[in-house]
Amino acid sequence: MTIDYALIWAGLIAFAVLAYVVLDGFDLGVGILFPWAKSEQERDLMMNSVAPVWDGNETWLVLGGGGLFAVFPLAYAIIMPALYAPIIIMLLALVFRGVAFEFRWKSQSRKYLWDWAFAGGSFVATFSQGVALGALVQGIPVSGRAYAGGWWDWLSAFSLLTGLALVVGYALLGSTWLMLKTDGRVEQLAKRATFGLGIVMLGLIGLVSLISPFLHEHFMQKWFAWPAMLFVAPVPILVLVCAIALFRGIRLNRPLMSFLAVEGLFVLSYIGLVISFFPYIVPSSVTLWQAAAPDNSLKFLLVGAVFLIPMILAYTAYAYWVFRGKVGPTHDYH
């Protein structure tokens, strides 16, 4: 039996993107919630809760992009030009919020500028990611080995909706993270935000899920054809379970439960997307086998990935362990 390296790599890239979403999602979300903090001290606390880990979280985005280049170069070469505007805007927004982590502490009277860079950058980066995702789900026209559409194709009602949904989703991740990591007024703020955002988020998940199957013929077949429906049916049911856990977590004052419930919602939505996409990497245009680099390249990188990815997960977990517990108002670095 031959090993399907392209399929293994599709799984690894999907894992990297998922890791990015569940990790950077909460620190972007903290940025989105920044304007609601009442005082400088509250913003200090919010930023300190993610300062030691944001950098590692964002590295998964580099692995997603770099990995795509490495193992699915054709998909990389088609998707990046197709999503040119949202990707460039996302990158610039990430620059704004990334430098704000350091600059904010160096500035005195203009601290507010970096507060806005952090909040605005987080919001715009998230929104662009959502738009890019929506545009990808809608499909990208391809001719030969290149993108064949126009420069505004990514803009549609659907991609704006997914942009909005991701902003709400990351904000919800951020608010449950803050419930977990902070106390006092910030924790109270986070609880209220979680309740409201949770309701909106569930509505948006429902809306996007209802629209998506109508975008491509093969999406529809997967979700509504018998007996395939039997296999995908657990996804919506588990969404319901997570939703209940989210609100119970707020009521019972168990923030970890709420946080994990939201992460669960993201994982399930993501699994839903993966089910819809498969076997395409660019929906309706390029399958993952068509886009894959030769086996030789896939094998070479896989050897390293088998050792390095578990190590990465181990020391990432260690870093989270070192900075466990609620954050204090002061900091031994700043």
Binding site: T59, L63, Y84, L91, K106
Partner: protein, 492 residues
């Protein structure tokens, strides 16, 4: 504007973003190693001065590293957005190398950076040293892989071309350790170490001069501990200059011989001779004239070009005309950039030798003229690195993969307008944000080591700085707020 087509704009954008980017990693590669050494010295000797220096550079490192990370993310997506044909064709070869860079370098740096910056109190000195060493190792791994990628584009090896026109790999060892890679890796790492050494030396020299100026004024000089730290910092930097600058010149020479063997057109542009010739003179300086294929008003030293490049007096040095016009790199840029790099290298050697002489005479900390020179040379490493990269990258033109894939056949099918807008956005954002970052770094450097760490002890020292370090009387009235030294431009 006819010449501003999509290709030209994409090239400008790449040159701009990569030039900005390289400044930060070039600095943090050296600084991470320096900080790992400081951390180790503190661990083994127990001397407080090394920890003081570690904490001093930590803040600067954090800002520089942050800027390196975010400008690097831009690079990893720009290959696809602006150079999609290149990405499709070279992906099977270069993609895995970059994949290894992400997995073995970026995660290592990012994973341990938090502990290095914030975690000393939580993990203790030993694990803190380990975390610092891992960050330093990460910067080294990153340099290893990305230089392998770049070197493959200069001297491709171990590849074949498949039926859809992609480069595919026949021999991974030959791909990674392609002919120019070992030379480029050594040359770049040494350059990063030298750059950091000159920044550290420049900052130390600045504080030595400052001390001297305010000597005897009560309350105007930093604490004895701080003065000691400044001296340790200056001494370490000058040892680096004295030892590494000569090694770098030798490494550069070896790199040059390698380039002669594999990329004669680049050497022709560097040297500026019209025809290939033996007994070639070295053109020190002149005005490149691409149209006439020669250097006007050249000042040259007989035989030296042959001697340097072939290590014999009558060895043949390739001329501009030995390469077909369509395959030649631009003459002027390569010619001048090379001279800028080598000139700075020679000045670095001078300062290293000068420091040895002063050290021998026991006057290393008491030589204002040399200290002034060291302050001026503080940023010289960055200019040398940018010049060197211009030589090697512009010298590779008109190809992205040397002799195999033309730059004109590498870019994305994107409208010039779209690239023009994104280029404008990058220029505005990079100049304003990274300008602010450089400003914060310079302000941090203006505070002497061991003084002004954390808001608490800043307020204690505040009156001292208000009297001593703030440059003009117009600022002193404002500096009642803690956390600011010197220029108050950040206030409204």
């Amino acid at each position: 504007m006819e010449w501003l087509d999509a290709l030209t704009l994409a090239r400008i954008q790449f040159a701009f973003t990569v030039s900005f980017h390289i400044i930060f990693p070039a600095f943090t590669i050296g600084l991470a190693s320096y900080m790992a050494v400081l951390n180790a010295l503190h661990l083994f000797t127990g001397k407080e001065v090394y920890l003081t220096l570690f904490n001093y550079w930590k803040k600067i490192f954090a800002v520089a590293f942050g800027m390196g990370v975010v400008s690097g993310i831009v690079m990893s997506y720009q290959f696809g957005s602006n150079w999609s044909v290149f990405s499709d064709k070279t992906g099977p070869v270069l993609g895995p190398l970059m994949g290894y860079e992400v997995m073995s370098a970026f995660f290592l740096e990012a994973g341990f950076l938090g502990v290095m910056l914030f975690g000393r109190a939580r993990v203790g000195p030993k694990l803190h040293f380990f975390a610092t060493a891992m960050v330093a190792l990460g910067t080294f791994m990153s340099a290893f892989w990305i230089l392998s990628v770049n070197s493959w584009m200069q001297t491709p090896a171990g590849y074949a071309i498949n039926d859809v026109g992609q480069f595919i790999v026949v021999d991974w060892f030959k791909v990674i350790f392609n002919p120019s890679f070992p030379y480029r890796l050594v040359h770049m790492l040494l350059a990063a170490y030298l750059t950091t050494a000159f920044v550290v030396g420049g900052v130390a020299a600045f504080h030595l001069l400052k001390e001297r100026k305010h000597m005897g004024q009560l309350g105007a000089t930093p604490s004895p501990e701080s003065q000691a730290a400044t001296r340790v910092m200056f001494s370490m930097a000058m040892w680096m200059a004295a030892i590494v600058a000569p090694i770098q010149i030798m490494a550069g020479d070896a790199h040059g011989l390698n380039t002669l063997a594999h990329q004669p057109a680049k050497i022709a542009a560097i040297e500026g001779h019209t025809e290939s010739q033996g007994k070639a003179p070295l053109i020190l300086i002149g005005i490149p004239n691409a149209k006439e294929e020669r250097i006007d008003y050249a000042i040259s030293v007989p035989y030296l070009s042959s001697l340097i490049l072939t290590h014999s007096l009558d060895g043949v040095v390739p001329g501009i005309r030995s390469t077909p016009v369509a395959d030649r790199p631009p003459l002027g840029i390569v010619f001048f950039a090379f001279r800028s790099m080598v000139g700075i290298g020679m000045l670095m050697l001078c300062i290293g030798l000068w420091s040895l002489w002063l050290r021998y005479r026991g006057r290393l900390y008491d030589a204002p003229l040399m200290h002034r020179f060291a302050v001026i040379m503080g940023p010289s490493g960055f200019i040398a690195i940018l010049s060197g990269w211009i030589v090697t990258e512009v010298g590779r033109q008109p190809f992205t993969v040397y002799n195999l894939l033309r730059t004109a056949d590498s870019h994305s099918p994107i409208d010039a307008t779209a690239i023009a807008f994104s280029l404008a956005a990058f220029v505005i954002v990079y100049f304003s944000l990274f300008g602010a970052g450089v400003y914060y770094i310079l302000r941090q450097m203006k505070a002497p080591p061991g003084e002004g760490h954390g808001a608490a002890d800043l307020s204690v020292h505040e009156p001292i700085r208000a009297a001593g370090i703030v440059p003009g009387p117009m600022f002193t009235a404002k500096s009642s707020q803690p956390g600011v030294t010197g220029t108050q431009g950040d206030r409204t």
